[in-house]
Symmetry: C2
Subunit: 282 residues, 2 copies
Protein backbone atom coordinates (compact mmCIF):
# COMPACT_ATOMS: atom_id res chain seq x y z
CA UNK A 1 0.00 0.00 0.00
CA UNK A 2 2.99 2.29 0.54
CA UNK A 3 3.54 2.65 -3.22
CA UNK A 4 -0.10 3.57 -3.76
CA UNK A 5 -0.04 6.07 -0.91
CA UNK A 6 3.12 7.61 -2.31
CA UNK A 7 1.50 8.04 -5.71
CA UNK A 8 -1.55 9.68 -4.12
CA UNK A 9 0.79 11.97 -2.16
CA UNK A 10 2.29 13.07 -5.51
CA UNK A 11 -1.21 14.00 -6.66
CA UNK A 12 -1.78 10.94 -8.83
CA UNK A 13 -5.16 9.23 -8.54
CA UNK A 14 -5.84 7.76 -11.98
CA UNK A 15 -5.56 4.00 -12.32
CA UNK A 16 -5.50 2.71 -15.88
CA UNK A 17 -7.30 -0.59 -16.29
CA UNK A 18 -5.33 -2.68 -18.75
CA UNK A 19 -8.37 -4.70 -19.83
CA UNK A 20 -6.79 -5.30 -23.21
CA UNK A 21 -9.37 -7.43 -24.99
CA UNK A 22 -7.82 -8.55 -28.25
CA UNK A 23 -10.88 -7.85 -30.44
CA UNK A 24 -10.95 -4.22 -29.29
CA UNK A 25 -7.27 -3.46 -29.93
CA UNK A 26 -6.75 -1.18 -32.96
CA UNK A 27 -6.38 -3.01 -36.26
CA UNK A 28 -3.01 -1.35 -36.83
CA UNK A 29 -1.67 -3.15 -33.74
CA UNK A 30 -3.37 -6.46 -34.40
CA UNK A 31 -2.41 -6.66 -38.06
CA UNK A 32 0.23 -9.30 -38.74
CA UNK A 33 0.66 -10.12 -35.05
CA UNK A 34 -0.53 -13.04 -32.98
CA UNK A 35 -2.91 -12.15 -30.13
CA UNK A 36 -0.24 -12.38 -27.44
CA UNK A 37 2.30 -10.24 -29.29
CA UNK A 38 -0.37 -7.67 -30.19
CA UNK A 39 -1.64 -7.35 -26.60
CA UNK A 40 1.91 -6.94 -25.26
CA UNK A 41 2.71 -4.24 -27.84
CA UNK A 42 -0.58 -2.45 -27.17
CA UNK A 43 -0.03 -2.42 -23.40
CA UNK A 44 3.55 -1.26 -23.76
CA UNK A 45 2.53 1.71 -25.89
CA UNK A 46 -0.17 2.69 -23.37
CA UNK A 47 2.27 2.46 -20.46
CA UNK A 48 4.93 4.47 -22.33
CA UNK A 49 2.49 7.35 -22.80
CA UNK A 50 0.73 7.33 -19.42
CA UNK A 51 3.28 6.22 -16.81
CA UNK A 52 4.03 9.73 -15.55
CA UNK A 53 0.36 10.52 -14.94
CA UNK A 54 -1.05 7.52 -13.14
CA UNK A 55 -1.12 6.14 -9.60
CA UNK A 56 -1.44 2.49 -10.67
CA UNK A 57 -2.10 0.03 -13.47
CA UNK A 58 -4.84 -2.54 -12.99
CA UNK A 59 -4.86 -5.42 -15.47
CA UNK A 60 -7.89 -7.69 -15.10
CA UNK A 61 -6.66 -11.28 -15.36
CA UNK A 62 -9.79 -12.46 -17.20
CA UNK A 63 -8.75 -10.71 -20.42
CA UNK A 64 -5.41 -12.54 -20.32
CA UNK A 65 -6.64 -15.95 -19.17
CA UNK A 66 -9.01 -15.92 -22.15
CA UNK A 67 -5.86 -16.74 -24.15
CA UNK A 68 -4.77 -19.56 -21.87
CA UNK A 69 -1.17 -20.03 -20.78
CA UNK A 70 0.13 -17.66 -23.45
CA UNK A 71 -2.17 -14.95 -22.09
CA UNK A 72 -0.69 -15.28 -18.62
CA UNK A 73 2.79 -14.99 -20.12
CA UNK A 74 1.72 -11.78 -21.88
CA UNK A 75 0.50 -10.37 -18.60
CA UNK A 76 3.84 -11.13 -17.01
CA UNK A 77 5.57 -9.48 -19.94
CA UNK A 78 3.41 -6.36 -19.54
CA UNK A 79 4.16 -6.20 -15.81
CA UNK A 80 7.87 -6.37 -16.61
CA UNK A 81 7.38 -3.53 -19.10
CA UNK A 82 5.70 -1.46 -16.38
CA UNK A 83 8.69 -2.12 -14.09
CA UNK A 84 11.08 -0.76 -16.74
CA UNK A 85 9.02 2.13 -18.08
CA UNK A 86 7.31 3.34 -14.90
CA UNK A 87 9.11 1.74 -11.96
CA UNK A 88 7.38 3.86 -9.34
CA UNK A 89 3.89 2.80 -10.47
CA UNK A 90 2.36 -0.15 -8.57
CA UNK A 91 0.37 -2.86 -10.31
CA UNK A 92 -2.97 -4.08 -8.91
CA UNK A 93 -4.00 -7.48 -10.22
CA UNK A 94 -7.76 -7.44 -10.63
CA UNK A 95 -8.25 -11.15 -10.06
CA UNK A 96 -11.22 -11.30 -7.66
CA UNK A 97 -9.89 -14.53 -6.18
CA UNK A 98 -11.15 -16.24 -3.05
CA UNK A 99 -10.78 -19.92 -2.12
CA UNK A 100 -10.06 -21.90 1.04
CA UNK A 101 -6.77 -21.12 2.79
CA UNK A 102 -4.70 -24.02 1.54
CA UNK A 103 -5.71 -23.23 -2.04
CA UNK A 104 -5.26 -19.47 -1.80
CA UNK A 105 -1.54 -20.16 -1.41
CA UNK A 106 -1.57 -21.02 -5.13
CA UNK A 107 -3.09 -17.66 -6.00
CA UNK A 108 -0.64 -15.87 -3.70
CA UNK A 109 2.18 -17.61 -5.57
CA UNK A 110 0.71 -16.66 -8.95
CA UNK A 111 0.09 -13.01 -8.10
CA UNK A 112 3.00 -12.04 -5.87
CA UNK A 113 5.78 -14.38 -7.00
CA UNK A 114 5.16 -15.35 -10.62
CA UNK A 115 3.61 -12.07 -11.77
CA UNK A 116 5.14 -9.97 -8.99
CA UNK A 117 2.25 -7.53 -8.62
CA UNK A 118 1.88 -5.15 -5.69
CA UNK A 119 -1.79 -5.72 -4.87
CA UNK A 120 -4.73 -7.99 -5.66
CA UNK A 121 -8.52 -7.88 -5.47
CA UNK A 122 -10.31 -10.67 -3.54
CA UNK A 123 -13.81 -11.97 -2.74
CA UNK A 124 -14.84 -11.91 0.93
CA UNK A 125 -17.39 -14.78 0.93
CA UNK A 126 -15.12 -17.41 2.52
CA UNK A 127 -14.14 -15.08 5.36
CA UNK A 128 -10.91 -13.86 6.91
CA UNK A 129 -9.67 -17.32 7.91
CA UNK A 130 -9.60 -18.40 4.26
CA UNK A 131 -7.99 -15.17 3.04
CA UNK A 132 -5.20 -15.29 5.62
CA UNK A 133 -2.51 -16.24 3.03
CA UNK A 134 -3.28 -12.93 1.28
CA UNK A 135 -3.64 -10.91 4.49
CA UNK A 136 -0.31 -12.24 5.77
CA UNK A 137 1.51 -10.51 2.93
CA UNK A 138 2.33 -7.28 4.76
CA UNK A 139 4.29 -6.03 1.75
CA UNK A 140 1.27 -6.25 -0.57
CA UNK A 141 -2.15 -4.60 -0.88
CA UNK A 142 -5.31 -6.68 -0.49
CA UNK A 143 -8.45 -5.03 -1.90
CA UNK A 144 -11.66 -6.70 -0.75
CA UNK A 145 -14.75 -6.43 -2.97
CA UNK A 146 -17.30 -4.35 -1.12
CA UNK A 147 -19.76 -2.60 -3.47
CA UNK A 148 -19.12 -3.51 -7.10
CA UNK A 149 -19.84 -1.25 -10.06
CA UNK A 150 -22.20 -3.51 -12.03
CA UNK A 151 -25.96 -2.83 -12.45
CA UNK A 152 -26.99 -6.00 -10.60
CA UNK A 153 -24.66 -5.53 -7.63
CA UNK A 154 -27.47 -4.93 -5.16
CA UNK A 155 -28.93 -8.47 -5.45
CA UNK A 156 -26.71 -9.58 -2.57
CA UNK A 157 -24.63 -6.54 -1.63
CA UNK A 158 -27.61 -4.51 -0.42
CA UNK A 159 -29.20 -7.32 1.57
CA UNK A 160 -30.06 -6.14 5.08
CA UNK A 161 -27.63 -7.60 7.62
CA UNK A 162 -27.60 -6.48 11.26
CA UNK A 163 -29.51 -3.33 10.38
CA UNK A 164 -27.51 -2.29 7.31
CA UNK A 165 -26.65 -3.58 3.85
CA UNK A 166 -24.19 -6.46 3.46
CA UNK A 167 -21.59 -4.31 1.68
CA UNK A 168 -21.28 -2.08 4.75
CA UNK A 169 -20.93 -5.14 6.97
CA UNK A 170 -18.07 -6.30 4.72
CA UNK A 171 -16.44 -2.85 4.93
CA UNK A 172 -16.74 -2.88 8.70
CA UNK A 173 -15.19 -6.35 9.03
CA UNK A 174 -12.28 -5.44 6.77
CA UNK A 175 -11.63 -2.16 8.59
CA UNK A 176 -12.01 -3.48 12.12
CA UNK A 177 -10.84 -7.12 11.95
CA UNK A 178 -8.90 -7.88 8.78
CA UNK A 179 -6.52 -4.96 8.57
CA UNK A 180 -4.09 -5.92 11.35
CA UNK A 181 -1.18 -5.50 8.94
CA UNK A 182 -2.43 -2.22 7.50
CA UNK A 183 -2.44 -3.77 4.04
CA UNK A 184 -6.18 -3.83 3.27
CA UNK A 185 -8.28 -1.71 0.98
CA UNK A 186 -11.83 -2.03 -0.33
CA UNK A 187 -13.41 -1.86 -3.78
CA UNK A 188 -16.42 0.40 -4.30
CA UNK A 189 -17.83 1.27 -7.73
CA UNK A 190 -17.99 4.90 -8.85
CA UNK A 191 -21.46 4.09 -10.14
CA UNK A 192 -22.73 4.15 -6.54
CA UNK A 193 -21.50 7.46 -5.01
CA UNK A 194 -23.93 7.34 -2.09
CA UNK A 195 -22.63 3.93 -1.10
CA UNK A 196 -19.09 5.29 -1.47
CA UNK A 197 -19.88 7.99 1.13
CA UNK A 198 -21.06 5.31 3.55
CA UNK A 199 -18.01 3.12 3.00
CA UNK A 200 -15.57 6.01 3.44
CA UNK A 201 -17.22 6.79 6.76
CA UNK A 202 -16.68 3.19 7.85
CA UNK A 203 -13.11 2.58 6.67
CA UNK A 204 -11.50 5.86 7.73
CA UNK A 205 -8.34 6.52 5.75
CA UNK A 206 -8.09 3.07 4.18
CA UNK A 207 -7.43 3.15 0.40
CA UNK A 208 -10.49 2.64 -1.81
CA UNK A 209 -10.17 1.24 -5.32
CA UNK A 210 -12.91 2.87 -7.34
CA UNK A 211 -13.73 1.34 -10.75
CA UNK A 212 -16.63 2.44 -12.93
CA UNK A 213 -15.45 5.84 -14.19
CA UNK A 214 -15.56 6.19 -17.96
CA UNK A 215 -17.35 3.47 -19.97
CA UNK A 216 -19.42 2.41 -16.96
CA UNK A 217 -20.68 5.96 -16.47
CA UNK A 218 -19.68 6.89 -12.92
CA UNK A 219 -19.91 10.59 -12.01
CA UNK A 220 -16.44 11.96 -11.26
CA UNK A 221 -17.43 14.95 -9.17
CA UNK A 222 -19.54 12.86 -6.81
CA UNK A 223 -16.90 10.15 -6.76
CA UNK A 224 -14.09 12.43 -5.61
CA UNK A 225 -16.27 14.20 -3.06
CA UNK A 226 -17.37 10.84 -1.65
CA UNK A 227 -14.16 8.89 -2.03
CA UNK A 228 -11.39 11.11 -0.64
CA UNK A 229 -10.02 10.43 2.81
CA UNK A 230 -9.23 12.97 5.52
CA UNK A 231 -5.97 13.88 3.73
CA UNK A 232 -7.81 14.34 0.38
CA UNK A 233 -6.13 11.09 -0.67
CA UNK A 234 -6.83 7.34 -0.38
CA UNK A 235 -8.42 6.99 -3.83
CA UNK A 236 -7.45 4.82 -6.77
CA UNK A 237 -9.86 5.93 -9.49
CA UNK A 238 -9.91 3.43 -12.31
CA UNK A 239 -10.89 3.89 -15.93
CA UNK A 240 -10.28 1.04 -18.35
CA UNK A 241 -12.07 1.15 -21.70
CA UNK A 242 -12.53 4.94 -21.56
CA UNK A 243 -8.75 5.35 -21.65
CA UNK A 244 -7.21 2.39 -23.46
CA UNK A 245 -9.80 2.26 -26.25
CA UNK A 246 -10.19 6.05 -26.60
CA UNK A 247 -9.10 5.75 -30.24
CA UNK A 248 -9.04 2.70 -32.47
CA UNK A 249 -6.58 4.30 -34.87
CA UNK A 250 -2.79 4.57 -34.84
CA UNK A 251 -3.06 7.45 -32.33
CA UNK A 252 -4.47 5.09 -29.64
CA UNK A 253 -1.60 5.65 -27.18
CA UNK A 254 -1.76 9.41 -27.62
CA UNK A 255 -5.54 9.28 -27.14
CA UNK A 256 -5.02 7.19 -24.00
CA UNK A 257 -2.64 9.85 -22.67
CA UNK A 258 -5.11 12.60 -23.51
CA UNK A 259 -7.92 10.83 -21.64
CA UNK A 260 -5.64 10.04 -18.69
CA UNK A 261 -4.53 13.68 -18.53
CA UNK A 262 -8.16 14.86 -18.71
CA UNK A 263 -9.17 12.59 -15.88
CA UNK A 264 -6.08 13.56 -13.85
CA UNK A 265 -6.79 17.27 -14.34
CA UNK A 266 -10.46 16.87 -13.49
CA UNK A 267 -9.63 15.02 -10.25
CA UNK A 268 -7.07 17.68 -9.36
CA UNK A 269 -9.69 20.40 -9.89
CA UNK A 270 -12.23 18.49 -7.79
CA UNK A 271 -9.73 18.23 -4.95
CA UNK A 272 -8.54 21.84 -5.15
CA UNK A 273 -11.94 23.51 -5.11
CA UNK A 274 -13.78 21.15 -2.81
CA UNK A 275 -15.96 19.62 -5.49
CA UNK A 276 -17.11 22.65 -7.46
CA UNK A 277 -16.67 22.79 -11.24
CA UNK A 278 -14.51 19.71 -11.46
CA UNK A 279 -16.19 18.11 -14.44
CA UNK A 280 -13.91 16.92 -17.18
CA UNK A 281 -13.41 19.49 -19.92
CA UNK A 282 -14.51 18.07 -23.26
Amino acid sequence: MELLRAQNARGHFVCVGLDSEFAKIPECVRSGRTADVAIAAFNRAIVERTGDLVCAYKPNVAFYEAHGGAGIEVLRHTINDIRSLAPEVPVILDAKRGDIGNTNNGYVQMAFEYLGVDAITVHSYLGREALQPFLDRVDKGIFVLCRTSNPGASEFQNLPVNGGPLYRFVARRVASEWNKNGNCGVVVGATYPEELVKVRAIVGDMPILIPGIGAQGGDLEKTVAAGKDSFDQGMIINSSRGIIFASNGPDFAEAARRETQKLHDAITRCLSNGGEQCRQSS
Copy 2:
Protein backbone atom coordinates in the same frame (compact mmCIF):
# COMPACT_ATOMS: atom_id res chain seq x y z
CA MET B 1 -25.04 -31.15 -16.13
CA GLU B 2 -26.24 -34.07 -18.26
CA LEU B 3 -22.84 -35.77 -18.05
CA LEU B 4 -22.82 -35.45 -14.28
CA ARG B 5 -26.37 -36.77 -13.98
CA ALA B 6 -25.48 -39.70 -16.23
CA GLN B 7 -22.52 -40.57 -14.01
CA ASN B 8 -24.72 -40.42 -10.92
CA ALA B 9 -27.27 -42.65 -12.68
CA ARG B 10 -24.48 -45.19 -13.20
CA GLY B 11 -23.87 -45.16 -9.46
CA HIS B 12 -20.77 -42.94 -9.54
CA PHE B 13 -20.58 -40.15 -6.96
CA VAL B 14 -16.88 -39.70 -6.23
CA CYS B 15 -15.21 -36.61 -7.64
CA VAL B 16 -11.42 -36.63 -7.54
CA GLY B 17 -9.95 -33.21 -6.85
CA LEU B 18 -6.81 -32.86 -8.95
CA ASP B 19 -5.22 -30.35 -6.58
CA SER B 20 -1.80 -31.46 -7.69
CA GLU B 21 0.52 -29.24 -5.67
CA PHE B 22 4.03 -29.85 -6.93
CA ALA B 23 5.69 -30.07 -3.51
CA LYS B 24 3.33 -32.88 -2.48
CA ILE B 25 3.81 -35.05 -5.56
CA PRO B 26 5.85 -38.20 -4.82
CA GLU B 27 9.58 -37.76 -5.21
CA CYS B 28 9.69 -40.61 -7.74
CA VAL B 29 7.49 -38.54 -10.07
CA ARG B 30 9.21 -35.21 -9.42
CA SER B 31 12.73 -36.54 -9.79
CA GLY B 32 14.41 -35.39 -12.99
CA ARG B 33 11.28 -33.65 -14.24
CA THR B 34 10.35 -29.98 -14.40
CA ALA B 35 7.26 -29.02 -12.37
CA ASP B 36 4.95 -28.90 -15.37
CA VAL B 37 6.02 -32.28 -16.75
CA ALA B 38 5.83 -33.88 -13.29
CA ILE B 39 2.32 -32.57 -12.59
CA ALA B 40 1.07 -33.77 -15.98
CA ALA B 41 2.56 -37.25 -15.45
CA PHE B 42 1.15 -37.44 -11.91
CA ASN B 43 -2.35 -36.46 -13.05
CA ARG B 44 -2.27 -38.87 -15.97
CA ALA B 45 -1.38 -41.79 -13.72
CA ILE B 46 -4.19 -40.89 -11.29
CA VAL B 47 -6.73 -40.63 -14.12
CA GLU B 48 -5.59 -43.94 -15.65
CA ARG B 49 -6.26 -45.76 -12.37
CA THR B 50 -9.50 -44.03 -11.29
CA GLY B 51 -11.43 -43.12 -14.46
CA ASP B 52 -13.82 -46.09 -14.25
CA LEU B 53 -14.83 -45.28 -10.66
CA VAL B 54 -15.51 -41.56 -10.60
CA CYS B 55 -18.32 -39.20 -11.54
CA ALA B 56 -16.04 -36.23 -12.24
CA TYR B 57 -12.58 -34.72 -11.94
CA LYS B 58 -12.22 -31.33 -10.29
CA PRO B 59 -8.89 -29.57 -10.78
CA ASN B 60 -8.57 -26.39 -8.75
CA VAL B 61 -6.99 -23.74 -10.98
CA ALA B 62 -4.99 -22.20 -8.15
CA PHE B 63 -2.55 -25.12 -8.03
CA TYR B 64 -1.86 -24.68 -11.76
CA GLU B 65 -1.78 -20.88 -11.87
CA ALA B 66 0.89 -21.01 -9.18
CA HIS B 67 3.19 -22.04 -12.04
CA GLY B 68 2.09 -19.22 -14.34
CA GLY B 69 1.41 -19.74 -18.03
CA ALA B 70 3.11 -23.14 -18.06
CA GLY B 71 0.79 -24.26 -15.27
CA ILE B 72 -2.28 -23.39 -17.31
CA GLU B 73 -0.84 -25.37 -20.22
CA VAL B 74 -0.38 -28.37 -17.90
CA LEU B 75 -4.00 -28.13 -16.85
CA ARG B 76 -5.07 -28.14 -20.49
CA HIS B 77 -2.84 -31.15 -21.08
CA THR B 78 -4.42 -32.99 -18.13
CA ILE B 79 -7.92 -32.22 -19.40
CA ASN B 80 -6.97 -33.65 -22.79
CA ASP B 81 -5.67 -36.75 -21.01
CA ILE B 82 -9.01 -37.12 -19.22
CA ARG B 83 -10.78 -36.86 -22.61
CA SER B 84 -8.69 -39.74 -23.98
CA LEU B 85 -8.56 -41.97 -20.91
CA ALA B 86 -12.02 -41.41 -19.43
CA PRO B 87 -14.12 -39.71 -22.13
CA GLU B 88 -17.41 -40.14 -20.26
CA VAL B 89 -16.11 -38.33 -17.13
CA PRO B 90 -16.90 -34.60 -16.96
CA VAL B 91 -14.41 -32.04 -15.69
CA ILE B 92 -15.41 -29.36 -13.20
CA LEU B 93 -13.04 -26.41 -13.09
CA ASP B 94 -12.81 -25.22 -9.51
CA ALA B 95 -12.06 -21.62 -10.32
CA LYS B 96 -14.37 -19.66 -8.00
CA ARG B 97 -14.56 -16.83 -10.50
CA GLY B 98 -16.92 -13.89 -10.39
CA ASP B 99 -16.47 -10.49 -12.04
CA ILE B 100 -18.68 -7.97 -13.87
CA GLY B 101 -20.46 -9.29 -16.96
CA ASN B 102 -18.18 -7.86 -19.63
CA THR B 103 -15.17 -9.34 -17.85
CA ASN B 104 -16.69 -12.74 -17.11
CA ASN B 105 -16.66 -13.34 -20.87
CA GLY B 106 -12.89 -13.75 -20.53
CA TYR B 107 -13.32 -16.45 -17.89
CA VAL B 108 -16.00 -18.17 -19.99
CA GLN B 109 -13.53 -18.23 -22.86
CA MET B 110 -10.77 -19.62 -20.63
CA ALA B 111 -12.88 -22.34 -19.03
CA PHE B 112 -15.18 -23.51 -21.79
CA GLU B 113 -13.19 -22.79 -24.96
CA TYR B 114 -9.48 -22.88 -24.10
CA LEU B 115 -9.64 -25.59 -21.41
CA GLY B 116 -12.92 -27.07 -22.65
CA VAL B 117 -14.24 -28.08 -19.22
CA ASP B 118 -17.85 -29.10 -18.58
CA ALA B 119 -18.57 -27.04 -15.48
CA ILE B 120 -17.14 -24.24 -13.33
CA THR B 121 -17.51 -22.93 -9.77
CA VAL B 122 -18.41 -19.23 -9.30
CA HIS B 123 -18.83 -16.59 -6.59
CA SER B 124 -22.32 -15.10 -6.20
CA TYR B 125 -21.41 -11.69 -4.73
CA LEU B 126 -21.86 -9.67 -7.96
CA GLY B 127 -25.31 -11.16 -8.59
CA ARG B 128 -27.04 -12.88 -11.47
CA GLU B 129 -26.71 -9.98 -13.89
CA ALA B 130 -22.91 -10.21 -13.70
CA LEU B 131 -22.84 -14.01 -13.98
CA GLN B 132 -25.11 -14.08 -17.05
CA PRO B 133 -22.23 -15.02 -19.43
CA PHE B 134 -21.81 -18.21 -17.37
CA LEU B 135 -25.54 -18.86 -16.91
CA ASP B 136 -26.13 -18.46 -20.66
CA ARG B 137 -24.02 -21.53 -21.34
CA VAL B 138 -26.84 -24.07 -21.38
CA ASP B 139 -24.38 -26.83 -22.31
CA LYS B 140 -22.25 -26.28 -19.18
CA GLY B 141 -22.69 -26.62 -15.43
CA ILE B 142 -22.46 -23.55 -13.19
CA PHE B 143 -21.85 -24.33 -9.51
CA VAL B 144 -22.48 -21.36 -7.24
CA LEU B 145 -20.63 -21.20 -3.89
CA CYS B 146 -23.19 -21.51 -1.17
CA ARG B 147 -21.71 -22.93 2.07
CA THR B 148 -17.99 -23.51 1.78
CA SER B 149 -16.05 -26.20 3.64
CA ASN B 150 -13.52 -24.00 5.48
CA PRO B 151 -13.52 -23.39 9.25
CA GLY B 152 -14.17 -19.65 8.90
CA ALA B 153 -17.01 -19.96 6.38
CA SER B 154 -19.65 -18.69 8.80
CA GLU B 155 -18.18 -15.17 9.08
CA PHE B 156 -20.38 -14.05 6.18
CA GLN B 157 -22.25 -17.16 5.06
CA ASN B 158 -24.24 -17.50 8.29
CA LEU B 159 -25.15 -13.82 8.57
CA PRO B 160 -28.87 -13.43 9.18
CA VAL B 161 -30.63 -12.19 6.04
CA ASN B 162 -34.43 -12.03 5.78
CA GLY B 163 -34.82 -14.41 8.69
CA GLY B 164 -32.23 -17.02 7.66
CA PRO B 165 -28.50 -17.28 7.00
CA LEU B 166 -27.01 -15.76 3.85
CA TYR B 167 -26.00 -19.15 2.40
CA ARG B 168 -29.65 -20.23 2.31
CA PHE B 169 -30.63 -16.96 0.65
CA VAL B 170 -27.98 -17.67 -2.01
CA ALA B 171 -29.34 -21.22 -2.48
CA ARG B 172 -32.87 -19.89 -2.82
CA ARG B 173 -31.87 -17.30 -5.42
CA VAL B 174 -29.96 -19.84 -7.48
CA ALA B 175 -32.81 -22.38 -7.35
CA SER B 176 -35.65 -19.96 -7.99
CA GLU B 177 -34.16 -17.25 -10.20
CA TRP B 178 -30.84 -18.26 -11.74
CA ASN B 179 -31.57 -21.74 -13.01
CA LYS B 180 -33.72 -20.88 -16.03
CA ASN B 181 -31.50 -23.05 -18.21
CA GLY B 182 -31.39 -25.95 -15.76
CA ASN B 183 -27.60 -25.69 -15.69
CA CYS B 184 -27.02 -24.54 -12.09
CA GLY B 185 -25.72 -26.39 -9.08
CA VAL B 186 -24.51 -25.27 -5.66
CA VAL B 187 -21.42 -25.95 -3.57
CA VAL B 188 -21.89 -27.03 0.05
CA GLY B 189 -19.05 -28.40 2.18
CA ALA B 190 -19.31 -31.88 3.70
CA THR B 191 -17.94 -30.34 6.87
CA TYR B 192 -21.38 -28.80 7.49
CA PRO B 193 -23.93 -31.66 7.16
CA GLU B 194 -26.72 -29.75 8.90
CA GLU B 195 -26.38 -26.91 6.45
CA LEU B 196 -26.37 -29.47 3.65
CA VAL B 197 -29.78 -30.74 4.80
CA LYS B 198 -31.14 -27.20 4.65
CA VAL B 199 -29.72 -26.53 1.21
CA ARG B 200 -31.04 -29.81 -0.21
CA ALA B 201 -34.50 -28.85 1.02
CA ILE B 202 -34.21 -25.52 -0.80
CA VAL B 203 -32.74 -26.62 -4.14
CA GLY B 204 -34.82 -29.75 -4.77
CA ASP B 205 -33.08 -32.09 -7.19
CA MET B 206 -30.38 -29.64 -8.27
CA PRO B 207 -26.85 -31.15 -8.23
CA ILE B 208 -24.75 -30.31 -5.18
CA LEU B 209 -20.97 -30.30 -5.36
CA ILE B 210 -19.74 -31.41 -1.94
CA PRO B 211 -16.06 -30.84 -1.11
CA GLY B 212 -14.56 -31.49 2.29
CA ILE B 213 -14.53 -35.30 2.48
CA GLY B 214 -11.12 -36.76 3.33
CA ALA B 215 -8.38 -34.37 4.42
CA GLN B 216 -10.89 -31.73 5.53
CA GLY B 217 -12.66 -34.24 7.78
CA GLY B 218 -16.28 -34.30 6.55
CA ASP B 219 -18.43 -37.21 7.80
CA LEU B 220 -19.48 -39.41 4.87
CA GLU B 221 -22.54 -41.01 6.42
CA LYS B 222 -24.09 -37.69 7.35
CA THR B 223 -23.06 -36.22 4.01
CA VAL B 224 -24.81 -38.86 1.92
CA ALA B 225 -27.94 -38.82 4.10
CA ALA B 226 -28.09 -35.03 3.84
CA GLY B 227 -26.90 -34.59 0.29
CA LYS B 228 -28.87 -37.07 -1.84
CA ASP B 229 -31.79 -35.85 -3.91
CA SER B 230 -35.21 -37.50 -4.27
CA PHE B 231 -33.73 -40.04 -6.73
CA ASP B 232 -30.84 -40.85 -4.34
CA GLN B 233 -28.61 -38.93 -6.76
CA GLY B 234 -27.59 -35.29 -7.33
CA MET B 235 -24.32 -35.51 -5.41
CA ILE B 236 -20.75 -34.89 -6.52
CA ILE B 237 -18.71 -35.88 -3.47
CA ASN B 238 -15.20 -34.55 -3.76
CA SER B 239 -12.02 -35.77 -2.11
CA SER B 240 -8.73 -34.23 -3.20
CA ARG B 241 -5.71 -34.76 -0.94
CA GLY B 242 -7.22 -37.89 0.67
CA ILE B 243 -7.11 -39.62 -2.72
CA ILE B 244 -4.31 -38.15 -4.80
CA PHE B 245 -1.77 -38.00 -1.97
CA ALA B 246 -2.79 -41.31 -0.33
CA SER B 247 0.75 -42.58 -0.87
CA ASN B 248 3.92 -40.64 -1.53
CA GLY B 249 5.71 -43.67 -2.94
CA PRO B 250 5.74 -45.24 -6.39
CA ASP B 251 2.37 -46.89 -5.63
CA PHE B 252 0.64 -43.47 -5.50
CA ALA B 253 -1.73 -44.20 -8.39
CA GLU B 254 -2.68 -47.58 -6.99
CA ALA B 255 -3.24 -45.98 -3.58
CA ALA B 256 -5.41 -43.33 -5.22
CA ARG B 257 -7.47 -46.08 -6.83
CA ARG B 258 -7.80 -47.90 -3.51
CA GLU B 259 -9.03 -44.73 -1.76
CA THR B 260 -11.41 -43.92 -4.60
CA GLN B 261 -12.80 -47.45 -4.52
CA LYS B 262 -13.21 -47.27 -0.73
CA LEU B 263 -15.09 -44.01 -0.96
CA HIS B 264 -17.19 -45.30 -3.86
CA ASP B 265 -18.09 -48.47 -1.95
CA ALA B 266 -18.90 -46.55 1.22
CA ILE B 267 -21.22 -44.19 -0.66
CA THR B 268 -22.90 -47.16 -2.35
CA ARG B 269 -23.46 -48.79 1.04
CA CYS B 270 -24.87 -45.56 2.46
CA LEU B 271 -27.33 -45.30 -0.41
CA SER B 272 -28.37 -48.94 -0.34
CA ASN B 273 -29.13 -49.18 3.36
CA GLY B 274 -30.51 -45.73 3.98
CA GLY B 275 -27.56 -44.49 5.96
CA GLU B 276 -26.83 -47.35 8.33
CA GLN B 277 -23.35 -48.82 8.57
CA CYS B 278 -21.97 -46.94 5.61
CA ARG B 279 -18.69 -45.90 7.16
CA GLN B 280 -15.61 -46.50 5.08
CA SER B 281 -13.93 -49.81 5.86
CA SER B 282 -10.39 -49.23 6.97
